[in-house]
């Protein structure tokens, strides 16, 4: 090997390095896929105006004005047809017993179905608004059920929790509510 214009070792290895980098990128994507959660862009902004009729006779409906003043509240977006929501009901009841006001919005729900759901899983809600066309979700940046939003006394959205509030997340939610008091 004594050619005059010998390419440098660096240039020879470059394509291999690029290929290895590409493989590494694919591997990361396969083993640690990016989260598919869509986070609301409304955190720190005012709760938009809404006025939803009562979803069940035993609880009043929910309007934006109901969520002002007093202590921070939890706005829970749920539905009777949502299976994980049933698993979340106990944690919401626990929060209610700890003095948290939990307001619910039932998405695309029927009154009969909702009554069965509440009878079976408990009713931790102070108010339940009915939203048969998911409009509130587009206003507050929610993309599924269940989702919970911490709303402070001035009506500002402070935190979004995507998915079920698991038993070990109750303390975290309480901390977020406490944070929202300031």
């Amino acid at each position: 090997m004594s050619a005059p214009a010998k390419p440098s070792r660096w240039a020879l290895w470059l394509p291999v390095a690029l290929f290895a980098g590409f493989i590494a990128l694919v591997a990361v994507g396969l083993w640690r896929p990016a989260s598919r959660d869509v986070h609301s862009a409304m955190i720190g902004k005012d709760l938009p105006r809404f006025d939803l009729p009562a979803a069940v006779p035993e609880r009043p409906g929910l309007a934006q004005g109901d969520m002002l003043g007093g202590k921070p509240r939890l706005l829970n977006i749920f539905a009777s047809w949502c299976i994980p929501c049933a698993a979340e009901a106990q944690q919401l009841e626990q929060l209610r017993q700890l003095g948290v006001e939990v307001d619910g919005v039932a998405i695309r729900d029927k009154q009969d179905d909702l009554a069965v759901f509440l009878a079976r899983n408990g009713n931790p809600y102070t108010r339940i608004g009915a939203d048969p066309v998911s409009k509130i979700q587009f206003d507050i940046g929610s993309s599924g059920v269940p989702e919970s939003f911490v709303v402070d006394a001035r009506g500002v959205i402070r935190y979004q929790h995507i998915g079920v509030i698991a038993p070990d997340q109750v303390q975290m939610i309480l901390a977020r509510l406490k944070e929202a008091e300031q």
Binding site: S40, A41, I83, R108, P132, V133, S134, K135, F138, G141
Partner: protein, 136 residues
């Protein structure tokens, strides 16, 4: 045996999908607007809005209930005379840029727009160096 168990597992996993809401779709989820011009505007917008549940699809393509509800909202707003870009801005305000397929020029995206121009400029310089002056 194993295959049957697997099939059963798949069937069980499919249940929640079948158990989704029983409400009829929102008024304009599957119904076009009466005015063809308005419908065309709504369609063009819906094709560039992301379905939040089936994230590779636009709301125009998706049969997810939330996509149907979003189509209905979009059509109602178009019907009320709203500008399509104002409707897009409303959704971007709630969900961020992710909900829109139409890229915007922002602090984070400008390199995407600038890269082709920079590469083109580089190519012109390189080609000039290599072939320039020959004809002149």
């Amino acid at each position: 045996m194993r295959r049957a168990a697997f099939a059963l597992l798949l069937a069980a996993a499919a249940l929640p999908v079948a158990a989704q809401d029983k409400l009829p779709p929102a008024p304009y989820a599957y119904t076009q607007l009466e005015d063809p011009a308005q419908e065309a505007r709504a369609k063009a917008l819906m094709e560039t809005l992301r379905c939040l549940q089936c994230q590779g699809q636009s709301i125009a393509d998706s049969d997810a209930p939330i996509a149907g509800d979003m189509r209905s909202q979009v059509r109602l707003k178009i019907k009320a005379g709203d500008d399509p870009e104002a409707i897009r801005a409303w959704l971007v305000q709630s969900y961020g840029d992710y909900v829109s397929y139409a890229p915007r020029l922002t602090d984070a995206t400008w390199p995407l727009f600038a890269a082709p121009l920079i590469l083109l400029g580089l190519a012109i310089v390189l080609l000039r160096r290599r072939f320039g002056g020959k004809g002149a």
